[in-house]
């Protein structure tokens, strides 16, 4: 009897695993349809697909990892609430990034009114920058470690120094690979503005990073 029950449980688990792997192969549009049809796993698959990307996008935009995580949660809650109204002729990624971009913009707007929050964020980043190197890759030489870490931090800092409206466009284009049209939809700007901001962002970025690459 136990063997039969165990067998049945394994079959159900295998079936669920297969269903999950099948869902992971579907594109965003199909996952949305499956969710609206009542598949309980479909929304979780969308979360798996976008949680890290959105977290990095929002983190780079607002510069606060903890707050970025809260905002990513808020993005998924809003998507869950309004998915039934999503226009399925449009790209899902554009929609979810638009929500994320708007939340990040609101966060920056609120922060500009609260200098204390900005100071605490800067302090937090300062502490994170001074952790010891010995806990990183121990197989590489120390000067290589330093150079890699230095370059990574330098590049991150350069992106962080860009004005917010340039930074968003720069990250969406260079890191997320969005097209100009998608960036225009996400940020609510026209194509000309996107191109102009991207050009300025690249210009600023190059000026900031060039001395550090010597």
């Amino acid at each position: 009897m136990r063997a039969v029950l165990k067998g049945q449980t394994e079959t159900i688990a295998t079936r669920r695993g297969l269903e999950r792997s099948t869902l992971h192969e579907l594109d965003d549009g199909r996952l949305v349809l499956e969710h609206l049809r009542g598949d309980p796993q479909a929304f979780g698959t969308l979360v798996d697909r976008y949680q890290t990307r959105l977290l990095n996008f929002i983190n780079r935009t607002i510069g606060d990892r903890e707050r970025a995580e809260d905002l990513v949660q808020e993005v998924f809650i809003r998507v869950f609430r309004h998915l039934h109204r999503f226009d399925q002729t449009k790209k899902f990624s554009t929609w979810i990034y638009t929500i994320a971009s708007n939340l990040a913009k609101n966060e920056l707007r609120n922060r500009s009114r609260n200098p204390l929050v900005l100071f605490q964020t800067i302090k937090q980043h300062w502490e994170a920058d001074h952790r010891p190197l010995q806990f990183e890759d121990t197989t590489a030489r120390p000067d290589d470690l330093y150079r890699k870490r230095y370059l990574k931090e330098a590049v991150d800092q350069c992106v962080g120094q860009l004005p917010a409206h340039h930074r968003v466009v720069f990250v969406l284009r260079e890191l997320e690979g969005k097209s100009y049209a998608e960036i225009a939809d996400i940020t609510g700007c026209n194509l000309g503005t996107v191109k102009s901001r991207l050009n300025r962002a690249r210009n600023s970025f190059a000026q900031l990073i060039e001395p550090l690459l010597e």
Binding site: T52, L55, F76, R81, V155, V159, A206
Partner: protein, 163 residues
Amino acid sequence: MTCLQFHERYSDYRDGLITSERELRRFQRHFAHCPACRRYDDAVRRGVLALQAAPHAVTPSPDFRRRLESRLARERPGEPELPARAGLAAALLLVALLGLLALEGTRRTELARTPPLPAVPFPKPVAHAGVPFVSFQDPRASIVVGSPSPYGAVLVEPVSAGR
């Protein structure tokens, strides 16, 4: 091509939007003759490569999904997430209701044992000429006299009238 023209069209060049061979050759020639613009292009490429090459700078915290699922559970219709206190309150209410039902059951048993009250006829309405225009009197004491009024009312004299 001047440096100003180069910078104005750099994004189009970088994003592969320049398809004209002639335009592309102009860019290549400018790279060959302008070290400043060549360094500029190099800085952008290497900087972006460094950004892209780094693994995702941050990953969600270990309890991210648990917190999200908890919030999503509250959003799902028909599946509200009840906090422990609400569950306890619901259990206590159920126990109280069951207790009341049991009590009601014992009362009904007691009532079943008591002798029934004698049947009382429904008191008849009595119309009066003055205030109060209608009252209810014991039907055993009422005497119906006179003919019905044009409006269908029956004038009834109470026993206490003594007529």
